[in-house]
Every structure is written in structure tokens, then in C-alpha cells.
Amino acid sequence: MEHLLNIDNVSLIYHTLTDETLAIESISMYADENEFISVVGPSGCGKTTLLSLISGVITPSSGKITLRGQPISEAKNKTGYMFQRDHLFEWRTVWQNIKLGPEIVGDKSPETTKYLDGLLSKYGLQDFKHKYPKHLSGGMRQRVALIRTLALRPELLLLDEPFGALDYQTKKVVIQDVNDIISREQKTSILVTHDIGEAASLSDRIIVLSHRPSVVKKVFTSKLRSIPLIEERKKTREYQELIDEIWKELI
């Protein structure tokens, strides 16, 4: 069976004037349709670099990344990025922010407008359509950021620690929101995080990377996604065992 995303023996070497650094060494992994994958690993191991490689923003030194069999460099707008900070453009309204992607690719179709309008309504942001980001709460801002990422209908979502900058209360709400939106929109997602609790509660598979140069150390699978509420997932024995096993791999 062909996977949606295939990362085959990918390495990346950074060149500086004084040295060259092997950041990623022969990583191979895959992602299937509607799968939620988390990538965890020690700080500075190259998790974010891996996402940049998957998005096609940087090119690997060797190896191959394909999305539906197509080289990632040719798969324009098939991946959507979400960061630790929402990076909403303060000078644009909520509507203008989520229209950024379609604007860039020149998509003015009524279908897209309808699709975005639908997303705003579905996720409780319709009343804030013409407000500026300064009028939104932290949770709402992240929801807008996710809808902006979904606007181009990407096949793969890349989530770079999207909950890292949120306070405890907001984080709980946003994690549930993001989980629900991704499940309902049936998006394949790769989450990079240093929080193994987030990884264990959200994912179908958890990939543990080693220290730099990072290689895939271990892959864990989980069935917790069948439980709708994140907080309920956290109360299960499987969750606790998963956390313990991931932790053992990290230390």
C-alpha cells in the first residue's frame, strides 16, 4: 500500500564557514491518510528541521520525500504549517487572515469563500469574522490560525509545537479544539512537540527521535484516538503506560 507521505532515507547536512553538521541522519518514516503522528525527541534534535523538510521549504542533502508519490518540491500547497505562536497578521481581520492562502495562490472561487465561511461558523468564529486578532482570546487565535492553515485544503498538516506558548487553561481547550477540527476535517497531521503527554494523548503513532544527528529511535502506536475527549484519554491505563515507555526512550 502506498502511504500518503513517504520519507525515505533522508539526511540533512548544515554547512557553515567553520564546520558542517549532520543534523538528520537517514530518517525513514511514513504517514497514512487521517493519521495523527507525533514526533518527540530531545531539545535541538532536529524536530522542527524535519517539518521544514516535509514542507519542502528546505531540501534534504540526500534521500527522498514524497507526498502521494509526488516529490515534495513539486507538491505545492499540499502541506499546511501551524506554529507555536499563531502568527496572525495584526493588520488583517480574521477573514482577511484566513483568506491569506487563497489570496497567495489566486483562488477567488466562491467555493473557497463558502468553505471558509463554513469553517468559521462550525468553529464558533462567525461573529468575529471582521474583528482584528487583538480582539480574540488565545484559544480563538489558535483556532483562526488552524482555519488559515486549512484554507488551502492541505493534505498534510504540520504542527510545530502549536500549544507551547499557551497557558494551562487555554491549552486544555485548544488541544481539544485542534483534535476535533483535525478529526472532523479528516486531515493527516504531524505534530512536533517536547510534551510527551500531548503526543501520547493526540496521536495514532509517536515517533521518538534520538539526539543530533537524529535518527528514528522507536515508534509507538496508540488506540487512544478512538476516545473523543482528550481528558478521558489521559485517565486510561494505556495512556500512562505509553507515557512511561516514551519517557524511558527519551532519558
Binding site: 504549517y81 497578521f89 492562502g101 488551502l152
Partner: protein, 270 residues
């Protein structure tokens, strides 16, 4: 949101009253200082304690402004200086912004031109005055060129810094959506730099006044700078002081206009 017609607690009413008193005190002191200085100046000159030929006096300055007005010269000279300043300001802002965009666009170009910008920035631009006059002639063109020379470097350096300080993640976000460099410039870099641009306007409007007045000092037959030089040459301090006063008022008005625009922009964003 401002709350009106609300019954505040006694403590809050006292806080508001204290705040109003403080504001009133600051304003009264500002006016007092001005009145005392002008009053003292006028009294000392009236009783010949200070020489009015050297120090002039507020009443003589007002009379000079009045006579300039009645002879029709006042707005002529103001118009000339204002024209040179605004033209120099507009050219340096537009050209400075364009050069900053080019330097942001090409990392290589920025590296090539970096030493030249550093030298131009540290050079006292007025030293180029004689060369400018020879190249552009003894007229208004030279004054505008001097004005541009004095103002443009600060615009280039400040705007380039603003462009380069844009968050990399935002650029990455746009790239992941398939944006090209022109789209990144138009939809991210330029709008994100608007607050810094207005700060630069505040600085460059002041620099433009310096440029036009310095230019008029070097070569001119009209304008407020010319009146100041002319007044000092014929020892008419009334004229020098009157022109300086008008200059102060005009520069303040322009600064206030830019500050007002800044407030409007900040109100929308913050």
C-alpha cells in the same frame, strides 16, 4: 472601552480627581515657564537691561512677523522653505524606501553596498554642500539635494532593519503557502513595517527641516533659512528670532501631523 455616566466609587473618583489635578499642574507649569521667560525677556529689554539689538524682544519679534506679513513676504518665505522641505522629505522617503526594499530583496547587494552605507551614514552630509552646489547649480535643486542627502540614509538604514527584523516563522508560513518573494514583500514585510515606517517619518521630517535650512544657509535668495542668515549679516536679530520662531511652529505642526497618523495606526493594531 471608555465608560461614561457611571457612578464611580469614592476612591476611584478621588483617583480621577488626583489625575486631573496632576495633568492641570503639568500644563500650568509648561505655560508658566513660557510666560515667565517671555515676560522677563520683554521687561528686561523694555528697561534696557539687555541690549535689544543683540537679544531682540518678544514684542519686536511679533512686530517683525507683522511687518513681514503686511509686506507679503511672510508666506512667500514660508512657502519656499516648506516646498523645499516637503519635496526633500518626499523624495528621500520614496527613494529611501525603494533602496531599502532592494537591499532586503538581494542579500548580495546589501553586502556589497554595506561599507558605502556605513561611510555615508557617518559622513557629515553638509560637507558635500560645495560639491552639490557645483553639480546642481546655485538654486533650489541643490537645497533639495542636500535635504535628501541628510534624510535618506536614516530612512534606508531604519527601514532595512525593520524589514530584516520580520519574524522568520511568518516568512516560513507564507512560503509554505506557496508565496513568492514579491508576495512576501507586499503582504507581510511592508504591512508589518508600517509602525517603524511612521517612526522613521517622525525622524526624517525633522532631518528634512535640517536639510532645507542648512541648504538655504549655503545657497539661497529666499526662505526662512535665508532670512536667518540675512538677518544675522545685517545684524537684525528681530528677523533672525522671528524666522526661528516660525520655523519652530512649522516643524512642530508637521511633527504633530505625523504623530497623529502614528496614533491612528497604533490604535488599529495594538
Amino acid at each position: 472601552m471608555r465608560r461614561k455616566n457611571i457612578n464611580y466609587s469614592k476612591e476611584h473618583s478621588r483617583f480621577l480627581a488626583r489625575n486631573r489635578r496632576k495633568k492641570f499642574f503639568v500644563l500650568s507649569m509648561q505655560i508658566c515657564i513660557l510666560v515667565v521667560i517671555l515676560g522677563l525677556w520683554e521687561i528686561l529689554s523694555y528697561f534696557n537691561v539687555i541690549n535689544t539689538l543683540i537679544f531682540s524682544s518678544p514684542s519686536r519679534i511679533l512686530n517683525t512677523i507683522g511687518s513681514l506679513y503686511s509686506s507679503g513676504e511672510l508666506f512667500y518665505h514660508i512657502g519656499i522653505t516648506l516646498y523645499e522641505t516637503l519635496l526633500g522629505f518626499a523624495i528621500s522617503t520614496a527613494l529611501g524606501l525603494l533602496i531599502a526594499i532592494l537591499l532586503w530583496w538581494s542579500e548580495t547587494l546589501r553586502k556589497i553596498l554595506d561599507p558605502y552605507i556605513v561611510v555615508l551614514n557617518s559622513l557629515p552630509k553638509i560637507a558635500l554642500g560645495p560639491i552639490v552646489i557645483i553639480w546642481f547649480g546655485a538654486g533650489m535643486q541643490s537645497i533639495v539635494v542636500i535635504c535628501v542627502l541628510i534624510t535618506i540614509i536614516i530612512t534606508i538604514i531604519s527601514m532595512l532593519n525593520a524589514f530584516r527584523s520580520c519574524e522568520q516563522d511568518k516568512i516560513l508560513l507564507m512560503k509554505s503557502m506557496g508565496a513568492n518573494k514579491f508576495q512576501i514583500l507586499l503582504k507581510l514585510i511592508l504591512p508589518a513595517s508600517v509602525p517603524q515606517f511612521i517612526s522613521v517619518l517622525k525622524i526624517s521630517i525633522g532631518m528634512s527641516w535640517v536639510g532645507s535650512i542648512m541648504g538655504e544657509y549655503l545657497i539661497s535668495s529666499a526662505g526662512l533659512g535665508y532670512l536667518i542668515v540675512y538677518g544675522s549679516q545685517i545684524f537684525r536679530l528681530d528677523l533672525v528670532m522671528a524666522s526661528t520662531l516660525i520655523l519652530c511652529i512649522l516643524a512642530s505642526i508637521m511633527y504633530l501631523i505625523v504623530s497623529f497618523i502614528e496614533k491612528l495606526v497604533n490604535k488599529k493594531r495594538s
